[in-house]
């Protein structure tokens, strides 16, 4: 079985500052991995590097995505190959409706796979069906993308887009930030509904509460640019109880 994602000794940073200091991680089809860690540990940097944000420079290591060298691909190529980043702060695009944006996006992915663009009626039907996953109202389709959306609506819109794009790997970057408990439940159930044996999810989060809803197979703790501990879902509960300090302590002692 080819892993969906295979990260080996990845180092990366911004300008001269190294933030990721040698990360190795393997994600197989059907798995949900949670990456936890205190603020500034490098969680969001990892998400940005995987998606190909230009601000970050990779200085070493390798990343294979479905067997392909991910680091060779432009951000749009990564997306077309099935990588989806759920943004912590989704942007607003005035004048571009959610429907039009998604149509452009979905058709770019289809083109990449050698498929014809979807006919408008089929596309509309698909959107209507998948919006239900996150309990979004159809009126959002004709509104400018994310413009005037509440924090919760923006996150639901992200999961809706994920449902439309059917990625093989979804990276959820702090999905729970700014969500109330109801929105959290809706977003999480959307993510769960999209899980299959063929795709995988990386959930990046600071808090354990999201993992009550999206139950991970593996939990990794990121600290100071390294994965310092991995374990099952019970590791998240332990972190919840004891905080991050004991992990920091242990990893300092190990060094």
């Amino acid at each position: 079985m080819t892993p969906i994602l295979q990260i080996t000794e990845l180092t990366a940073g911004i300008e001269d500052r190294e933030i990721l200091k040698g990360i190795s991680l393997t994600v197989n089809p059907g798995e949900v991995h949670a990456i936890m860690g205190p603020n500034g540990s490098g969680k969001s940097t990892l998400a940005s590097v995987l998606a190909g944000r230009a601000d970050y420079a990779v200085s070493g290591g390798s990343v294979l995505f479905n067997g392909k060298d991910l680091l060779e691909l432009s951000p749009e190529e990564r997306a077309r190959e099935g990588m989806f980043l759920e943004f912590q702060y989704p942007v607003e695009i005035p004048g571009v409706s959610t429907a039009n944006f998604l149509k452009t996006s979905v058709n770019e992915l289809r083109k990449h796979r050698g498929q014809e663009p979807l006919a408008p009626a089929a596309f509309l039907a698909m959107m209507r069906e998948r919006m239900k996953l996150v309990e979004m109202d159809q009126s959002f389709l004709s509104r400018s993308l994310n413009e005037g959306f509440s924090g919760g609506e923006k996150k639901r819109n992200e999961i809706f887009q994920m449902a439309m794009l059917e990625p093989t790997l979804a990276v959820l970057d702090e999905t729970d930030s700014g969500l109330d408990i109801d929105a959290l439940r809706i977003v999480a159930s959307g993510v769960n509904a999209l899980r299959t044996k063929e795709n995988a999810t990386i959930v990046i989060t600071h808090y354990q509460r999201l993992l009550d809803h999206i139950v991970p197979d593996v939990v990794h703790v990121l600290w100071n640019g390294r994965i310092v501990r991995s374990g099952g879902k019970e590791l998240a509960l332990e972190l919840e109880k004891r905080g991050y300090d004991w992990i920091k302590q242990e990893s300092v002692e190990e060094v």
Binding site: P75, R78, P94, S105, E108, L165
Partner: protein, 503 residues
């Protein structure tokens, strides 16, 4: 949807391309206009009669004689020339360019006339190649070159149908040179009535030397059943281009008129100084749409058209309406303010504009709404888009005279910046002399930043496509005003004008 009819005006005159045809709905000409690079950069090598460079009374007499104009027209031109000589070149706009040497311009260039060729084989192949590049179908090429065509040919029947149809309704649609000869009473009455010869430096110059242009007359109560369109092209080197358009809509009539423009790619700057006059009588409506794609110069700002144009309409009668829509992507410098004088009570003026500047382009454009009649209304929606190291200015005047009780204006001026090296400027002027007037002005500035582009990239949309998507979303309100077949092409044109502006 009605197919538009088309008038091609060769600004170097000589060849009179006056014809009306049914255009395919996927307008072939605009397809060409929106090709990737500046595809219109071709030059047609046709034998031409050129006057030597320079402007004098003799030159004006020569032009008038070539056009077989009546004496009054020559007198009008000469008067404009005398006014022009006393005027100074204006310097107030927010654009910079070297001084124009008006004696270094050719004011007359005409392809040599040939006596009606018998078949296309006898027509100058260069001219045919030009038509092919313009995407003009073979049957229309025959018409343009004056080849006798069998009348049973489909497109010709269509042509006749439209001519007959328009004539039946009393609509006149022809080159202005023809109108001067065939309808002198109309031209005499209206020419210079909206833009007087001495209105400004360039209108005076245009009045003296204009080569051709189009003329439209819609009689009382007639709704023009098809879009009328004119396509302007500059071909000869070193020549100045001065066309003149006059549209008259009589009481209760309606017309939608479209104008498209292209020019060859040249290292030198060429001057284009047109005058457009619109007259809308009681309850009449004129909708004037422009897609301007004159050659903008290269990336380093070499070459390109100086587009210094005076466009003005008067809402003469009560409840009349004039609406300007422009999509400006071309020209090295664009300097124009399509305006409406709202004389009739309850008349309406509208201005919808998208002006794109990239590389070294400069645009200083906007409108003037002059409220004279009671309860007159105006609406201004201006969308500037700047990229590269270009400068894009909106300049607009809303003037409410004492007489204009209950006047209303709404202006919205938005600027979109792409990159860090371009500039957007807004110069709104409000002069309100009546306390009952309501004048609103809104302005926004936004930027296509890295965050938005990365977000689009992450959804599989590359940067070029993302810019196109965002820009079209931004300009949607204006594009919606264009007739549908034009709107689609204008969208592509916007995207192409901004190619390479990011990353």
């Amino acid at each position: 949807m009605q197919a538009p009819s088309l008038l091609i005006v060769d600004l170097e005159s000589g060849l009179k391309w006056s014809y009306i045809c049914a255009m395919a709905q996927d307008s072939a000409i605009l397809d060409e206009v929106v090709q990737n690079e500046y595809k219109y950069g071709f030059v047609t090598d046709i034998e031409q009669d050129l006057l030597p460079k320079g402007l004098s009374e003799d030159v004006i007499r020569f032009i008038s004689a070539k056009k077989e104009e009546p004496e009054w027209m020559l007198a009008w031109r000469l008067k404009a020339y005398a006014q022009w000589l006393k005027m100074k070149e204006p310097m107030w706009s927010n654009v910079t360019h070297p001084r124009i040497d008006f004696q270094d311009i050719i004011y007359w260039a005409s392809p040599r006339k040939k006596e009606g060729p018998a078949s296309l084989d006898e027509v100058d192949p260069e001219l045919l190649a030009t038509f092919a590049k313009l995407g003009i179908p073979i049957e229309e090429q025959k018409m343009l070159t004056g080849v006798a065509v069998d009348i049973v040919l489909d497109s010709v029947s269509v042509k006749t149908t439209f001519q007959d149809k328009l004539a039946e309704l009393g609509i006149i649609f022809c080159p202005i040179s023809e109108a001067i000869r065939e309808h002198p009473e109309l031209v005499k009455q209206y020419i210079g009535s909206v833009v007087p010869t001495n209105d400004n430096y360039y209108s005076a110059l245009n009045s003296a030397v204009f080569s051709d242009g189009s003329f439209v007359f819609i009689p009382k109560g007639v709704r023009c059943p098809i879009e009328l369109s004119t396509y302007f092209r500059i071909n000869a080197r070193n020549t100045g281009q001065f066309e003149r358009t006059l549209i008259i809509a009589e009481e209760g009539s309606y017309v939608s008129y479209l104008e498209g423009c292209t020019a060859p790619q040249r290292d030198e700057n060429q001057l284009h100084a047109a005058v457009v006059e619109l007259v809308a009588h009681t309850d009449a409506e004129i909708k004037y749409s422009t897609v301007q794609n004159w050659y903008p110069g290269d990336k380093d700002g070499k070459g390109g058209i100086y587009n210094f144009v005076t466009k003005r309409g008067v809402c003469e009668g009560p409840r009349s309406k004039i609406s300007w829509t422009q999509v400006e992507t071309g020209s090295a410098i664009t300097w124009k303010y399509p305006s409406v004088i709202l004389k009739g009570d309850h008349s309406i003026g509208e201005f919808y504009s998208v002006a794109v500047t990239n590389h070294m382009q400069q645009a200083d454009t906007g409108t003037k709404m002059i409220h004279i009649g009671k309860n007159t209304r105006s609406r201004i929606v201006s969308k500037g888009i700047s990229a590269g190291t270009s400068q894009n200015s909106y300049r607009g005047l809303v003037k409410v005279l004492k007489t204009s009780t209950g006047a209303r204006n709404y202006s919205q001026c938005d600027s979109l910046l792409i990159g860090d090296a371009c500039g957007a400027h807004t110069f709104p002027y409000l002069e309100v002399a009546n306390k009952t007037a309501t004048v609103e002005h809104e302005a926004t500035t936004s930027k296509i930043g890295e965050d938005i582009l990365f977000y689009c990239n992450q959804r599989g949309i590359d940067t070029e496509a993302a810019v196109a998507l965002i820009v079209n979303g931004y300009a949607r309100e204006v594009l919606n005003q264009l007739p549908m077949e034009f709107a689609v092409e204008a969208q592509k044109l916007l995207a192409i004008s901004l190619e390479g502006s990011v990353g």
